[in-house]
């Protein structure tokens, strides 16, 4: 996107400015280091690949400073070859490289390169040692206090050795004594893959930090910045070639980051030989060098920081949820577990591995899922604007809606999808309610059915009310009591439940009514259709109601009293019914409370 392009443009010049001549080497350095740092698998790649990196670096290195640099490079190249035989030699070589790079890193160009190379060396060591601890940490982390593992210790042990073998440079010390920077760098690298968004902010902040720090730190900062920008470029190029073929440098940091993440994940599986089509020779070389090194992780983070705050914010949010999402997931190669950085790396790696394991869509899906959170339209727009260049990639949105593959990623479309899902869910409920809607598909026809059904129900109610009105005048107190008894007692009662009532009520003066009630009840049971099983309750209610009926002599004499009695009975019946219902755990307590007062009120009237 344009933003990304702008970012790319902005990102590339600065590093080039202070590393103008070393445009090629730094990227390669970074690529090599970053890539190796991230993936253990990458590190496990054959030493030849490492050699290729170094060779590339050497070839790239055409700077003025490359003189000493080349010497160190050659030594580094030779050392890894020699160290290939022994695991110990590997770390040694890497340490040597780190030391040399650090020593030579008087300028911003070199320091990043050295650091990256050191990181790559460290990663290589990690790969050799098959200890996954430091693989994820940046080179800076290895020297610092990171409690990665014995490898780290090995590295540290080797460091002084390297220092002895080589002209010890003071710059190496700050290297090792800059745990903060190393951590930050590691964070950047790991975030670069998984949480591109989060890195920019942090990175930017770190950069500021670096600016205020002494020279070595400044160099480190520069290194990170340069590496980030260049790695980002390379990542973009690499990813474009490897994965999407769309991830181009001009796609923007975001795509690069994503691709970088994927690339980093894939890098472990791929060989160094792979080279994505890059827009520039630098990026091409860089990509080749980085392939195994998944340098993109660092770079995207760094470069993201360079980007505008908006992008950084969006990426940061993405990164955070992504990191969190990845936290629970266990990466197959989860190695760094000792330090937070390692964890971050793990997260990043998990993100990457998850990304790599799935296709792009899955990656975004996985990210979107854990990142599910309401997001403002603006943020979604920003993210989706970056996403749009890569249509196959599903969007990552904060709204708790998973963007499906091949679907639009607009915030508007996502909101519409949420709305449509709500509507479809409710239509499903209506379908269950309205008979005959199962065969119907489509909202319009279903709405027609629903409308017809509601109209039919309303017509039924009207007809029944008319009928009630005609029947009403025939109501007298006796009938009312009987009705109340029957209605309250059961709706879907079985016929056998009627008999106890008849027997109990036969003693009452209302015997004739009870006998009448028998056919009524049967008719009621036939007429009414309920899904509740009320047999015990009905029987109990009937018995209670029957018992409570006052032994009135006749209809007319006890009419007024019957009315009052009926009201009392009604209340009692309702209470009993309620109590019985409660035992069945079908009754909603609130409804009873609501009905009682109303019943009382009505009775009083």
């Amino acid at each position: 996107m344009e933003k990304e392009k702008l970012f790319m443009n902005s990102g590339s010049p600065p590093p080039l400015s202070y590393a103008a001549s070393s445009s090629s080497p730094p990227p390669t350095w970074h690529s090599a280091s970053s890539g190796m740092d991230v993936q253990v698998g990458e590190l496990n790649c054959s030493s030849e690949q490492m050699r290729n990196c170094y060779v590339n670096l050497n070839w790239e290195n055409s700077m003025d400073q490359s003189g000493a640099f080349e010497s160190s490079l050659s030594s580094m190249v030779s050392s890894p070859v020699a160290s290939n035989a022994t695991i110990h030699g590997g770390p040694l070589a890497l340490r040597e490289l780190i030391g040399r790079l650090g020593n030579m890193g008087n300028s911003g160009d070199i320091s990043p390169q050295s650091q990256t190379l050191g990181g790559s060396a460290v990663s290589y060591i990690g790969g050799n040692n098959s200890t996954n601890t430091s693989c994820y940490s940046t080179p800076l982390n290895s020297p610092p206090k990171l409690n990665l593992s014995m490898m780290d210790q090995q590295l540290r042990g080797n460091l002084p050795i390297l220092g002895n073998s080589m002209p010890t440079h003071p710059s190496l010390v700050p290297f090792s004594t800059d745990p903060g920077f190393a951590e930050r760098a590691a964070r950047f690298s790991c975030f670069g893959n998984g949480n591109f968004r989060g890195l920019p902010c942090q990175f930017g902040f770190n950069e500021n930090e670096f600016s205020y720090r002494p020279a070595p730190r400044l160099e480190n900062g520069k290194l990170s910045r340069v590496s980030s920008s260049q790695c980002l470029k390379a990542a973009g190029s690499q990813l474009g070639g490897q994965e999407n073929k769309e991830a181009q440098l001009q796609d923007g940091s975001e795509t690069e980051m994503r691709s970088a993440a994927a690339a980093s994940a894939l890098a472990s599986e791929r060989k160094f030989s792979k080279l994505p089509g890059s827009s520039t020779p630098e990026s091409a070389e860089f990509a080749s060098a980085r392939e195994e090194s998944s340098a993109s992780e660092q770079i995207p983070g760094g470069e993201a920081g360079l980007k505008g705050s908006n992008d950084a914010n969006t990426r940061k949010r993405k990164a955070a949820p992504r990191g969190k999402a990845k936290d629970p997931s266990s990466s197959p190669s989860g190695k760094d577990e000792k330090t937070a950085l390692e964890k971050e790396d793990q997260n990043a790696k998990k993100c990457k591995s998850s990304d790599s394991t799935g296709n792009e869509n899955n990656e975004s899906k996985a990210k979107a899922e854990p990142c599910g959170s309401n997001n403002t339209a603006g943020d979604a727009d920003q993210k989706q604007s970056k996403e749009t260049p890569k249509p196959p990639e599903p969007p990552k949105d904060y709204i708790h809606v998973r963007a499906r593959r091949g679907q639009a990623t607009d915030s508007h479309s996502l909101a519409e999808r949420v709305r449509r899902e709500k509507i479809s869910e409710r239509m499903k409920f209506l379908q269950d309610l309205v008979p005959g809607c199962n065969k119907v598909t489509g909202k319009a026809v279903m709405l027609d059915e629903i409308i017809n059904y509601v109209q039919s129900l309303q017509r039924q109610v009207e007809f029944l009310s008319m009928k009630l009105a005609t029947v009403n005048p025939r109501l007298d107190f006796n009938m009312e009591s009987l009705l109340s008894k029957d209605i309250l007692q059961s709706r879907g009662s079985l016929p056998h439940t009627v008999y106890p009532l008849d027997s109990s009520a036969s003693t009452f003066p209302y015997a004739q009514h009870t006998q009448q009630g028998l056919p009524l009840q049967s008719s009621i049971s036939n007429v009414t259709e309920t899904h509740c099983s009320v047999n015990p309750l009905d029987a109990a209610l009937r018995q209670n109601v029957g018992m409570q009926f006052p032994p009135a002599d006749g209809f007319g004499e006890s009419a007024p009293r019957v009315g009052t009695f009926w009201e009392d009975d009604l209340q009692s019946v309702v209470q009993m019914g309620f109590g019985q219902n409660q035992s069945q755990a079908v009754f909603h307590p609130q409804s009873f409370h609501g009905s009682l007062p109303t019943a009382h009120m009505k009775i009083e009237l």
């Binding site: 990142c371 319009a444 004739q512 409804s591």
Partner: protein, 204 residues
């Protein structure tokens, strides 16, 4: 980070949806907004008892009044609807609308239907295809309006809300029909029996 804050509403909303679904299956703690509550026997009993009271009241109000069916019928219908709205405990829009004023709703119900029909007739017979499209486009909207008119108090609701109200309204209507049918049967049978018995008794 903002993600935990953002994820919380999402989680809560998801949880609420899940809880709503779970509540639908639960019988002990039913969601008051659940349309399936209208299927419970307790609700029908409650409604029946309340309806009886209302009917008695109606009868009391017009005992000597016109024995014609229409006024009584309408009164009965209104009473039945009112009782149904009370049974809903005012949690749904339609119940609240019924309680606030049914006459207004009746009047308004007729208007939009006429208007819609008028619009259809006013369309020119010219560009049939275009008009078909024009007819199709608001077809769904038209139906939504009709449904909104049917459900009391839901004429200007959004579509998903309208669907929800319609769901509850349909369930309540079904229960109302069940209760009134039973009541009618009872009354009719009892009335017949009483009439016959009373007819028989004097001679005895």
């Amino acid at each position: 980070m903002a993600s935990p804050l953002i994820s919380n509403p999402e989680a809560s909303s998801d949880r609420s949806l899940e809880s709503k679904k779970k509540k639908r299956k639960k019988t002990a703690n039913q969601n008051p907004e659940d349309p399936t509550r209208w299927k419970t026997r307790a609700e029908q009993q409650t409604y029946s008892s309340k309806l009886l009271e209302a009917l008695r009241q109606v009868r009391r109000n017009q005992p000597p009044a016109s024995p014609e069916a229409p006024p009584r019928g309408r009164a009965v219908r209104e009473a039945a609807d009112r009782v149904l709205a009370v049974a809903a405990k005012g949690r749904t829009r339609w119940s609240r609308a019924i309680l606030t004023g049914r006459l207004k709703l009746k009047l308004r119900k007729k208007k939009p239907r006429v208007a819609v029909a008028g619009n259809c007739r006013s369309k020119k017979p010219g560009a049939s295809i275009i008009r078909l499209k024009e007819k199709r486009l608001p077809a769904l909207q038209r139906r939504v309006r009709v449904l909104g008119g049917l459900v009391p108090g839901c004429r200007k609701l959004s579509f998903p809300e309208l669907l929800e109200e319609a769901t509850d309204y349909i369930a309540a209507l079904e229960m109302q029909v069940r209760a009134m049918t039973a009541l009618t049967e009872l009354l009719s049978v009892v009335g017949n029996d009483a009439a016959t018995s009373s007819n028989r008794s004097p001679p005895n």
